[in-house]
Amino acid sequence: MKWATNLLAATAIAAASNTSATELEVMHWWTSGGEAAAVGELAKAFDASGHTWVDAAIAGGDPARAVMVSRLTGGDPMGAFQFNHGRQAEELIEAGLLRDITDIAEAEGWKDIVNPTSLLDSCTVDGRIYCAPVNIHSWQWLWLSHKAYKDAGIDVPANWDEFVAAAAKLEEAGTVPLALGQQGWQQSGLFNVLMAALVPNDVFMSVYGDKDADVAGGEAVARVFKAAADARAMSSKSTVQNWNDATNLVITGKAGGQIMGDWAQGEFAVAEQVAGDDYSCLPGLGVTQLLSTGGDAFYFPVLSDDEQTAAQSELAALMLKPATQVAFNLKKGSLPVRGDIDLSTANDCMQKGLALLADGALLPDTNQLITPDTNDQLNTLFVEFFADTSMTTEDAQAQFVSIISSAE
């Protein structure tokens, strides 16, 4: 990667000349092709300000979070780190490990420019702001390979029901109907997408927002489990692990489709595929047009070094500048956090997302509603459900109810 070489060179020069430029170690888990390209844009912008971005990437969200937390609690903080904002950072903030950046947010007027406001709310604890949101990610997308459907001699589906109906034809042609990585977060993510798209909105909010066990055990959620069983059957031949390997099956036409968040878009871009020609995207599975607004944010640990603290402030402000937002989000495939910038260069799929964002057809992300503990229990449940075809939807739903009823 070219920027990495530049970075090394810059570091060497900075070290040799001992200028006032400050090095800031930034940790994140953006390591797939599209993600690395996007984070490179942030690094480039930060380096242009005279400081040095020291990249510390760790592959995979789970191991990365473990390293970040142990470094923070162990008293060896990094300059800045990426997190999914929401409830993951709650305890770190309570323990006073993270820097209050309210002053920067006020100086930059984040309150007025961040849209939807729920993103900034997720960064706010007791009225103080602790993180800089950088993008909006939504889970509710079905990515479809035009090649796979052409090979099977059928039209590209326009919604979930057509997608399920087309599965048999795809299997005859030797194609996997649904690509799905064998990891819990992908499987529970798929389930949550089905819940958001196939049954009315308030079900999702009652289950994850209010933790209502009656709704979780009810008729609507039973329908979602039935759909998940369909997904399980369609993905039985998908043996890949990582989400980007699954996306690659769709890109190469070996799989019909994948339910994955909009970060999959970055992979299509890296493979130089064109939305509408090579692949299609259906927000809300083509059924219910709405998006959840999770996303990534950067947090800034409390540091003792004044120069580094100043560099943190600059980085935080920089992340929400219009130019950075455009460059970063185009590469990442995510939506920008501010509604006032021009994204006419964005492709077909991103335009659909922007339109939904403008309409306010939005849901909070599960990370903002449930704790990592509950999330992990759900991941375990779905990893089991998708691997074990003998597990009935009723059994799975019973376990689901018990997890939701004990959630905080």
């Binding site: 473990a66 503990d373 990893v383 998708f386 691997a387």
Partner: protein
Amino acid sequence: MSSARPSRLFRNKSAKIAAIPMIVTALFVFVGGTIWTVVYSFTKSGLLPRLKWVGLDQYERLWATRKWLVSIENLAIYGFCMLLFVFVIGFILAALIDQKIRFENTIRTVILYPYALSFVVTGLVWQWILNPEFGVQKIVRGWGWESFNFDPLYNADIAIYGVLIAGLWQGSGLVMVLMLAGLRGIDQDVWKAARVDGIPAWKTYLLIVIPMMRPVFITTLVLVVTGIVKIYDLIVAQTGGGPGISTEVPAKYVYDSMFRANNLGQGFAASTMMLLTVALVVIPWAILEFGGSKNHD
């Protein structure tokens, strides 16, 4: 040397002084850490340790969690089979090598070699060997046996045995070397006497040699059992706990609770249960070995 007999405590003074840092570290890190973990297993610690008491809640939740029960069951299956096979295979290999064969050094090195590989490498290698698309199944099918099916890692019912194969491949060499050392320690006169009396070789092994090798067996047992209880990296590298949760093990449950679920209390409760298991094995052994006779040192 003074004429008065020095007290036992002050014998080998310099050696004892040199050992003090190690003793202090061991006490502080191991004992202190253990007590700390057990104490915090009764709290509701999330991402960070917090002294918010919840009594036995963490343990109740632990024993009501399917993943933990599956983990325990897997550990029991893996542990039992591992112990049984590793001893049988290790002893038979050692007995064969002990027949004064040619190229003993080469063979011994080849068999011990897997032990020099980390569990991560072992796990990955066996993941590939057992993968139906390019491992054993494909090779056998290539020989013409088209219906041959061998994909333990993709079948939830037998996946743990796929892990067991890798564990045996890695561990048998060490057991063999230990057993071989034990066999070499048996006086040749014992063999001569047995031959004079006309006792068949297998009977000599079973009734005379093995009982004489008791110390070796006990050392090996402790090494193998602790290896079994702490198994983690092999699982992570080979199956990641899958398919589903069919190859989860307790150590992985601890890690997942602490670092993925941000639930330290639950992880501490699980590790306390693991400590109990190890204590159940090690304490009786220590009493057997070091208790009783005081003049052992």
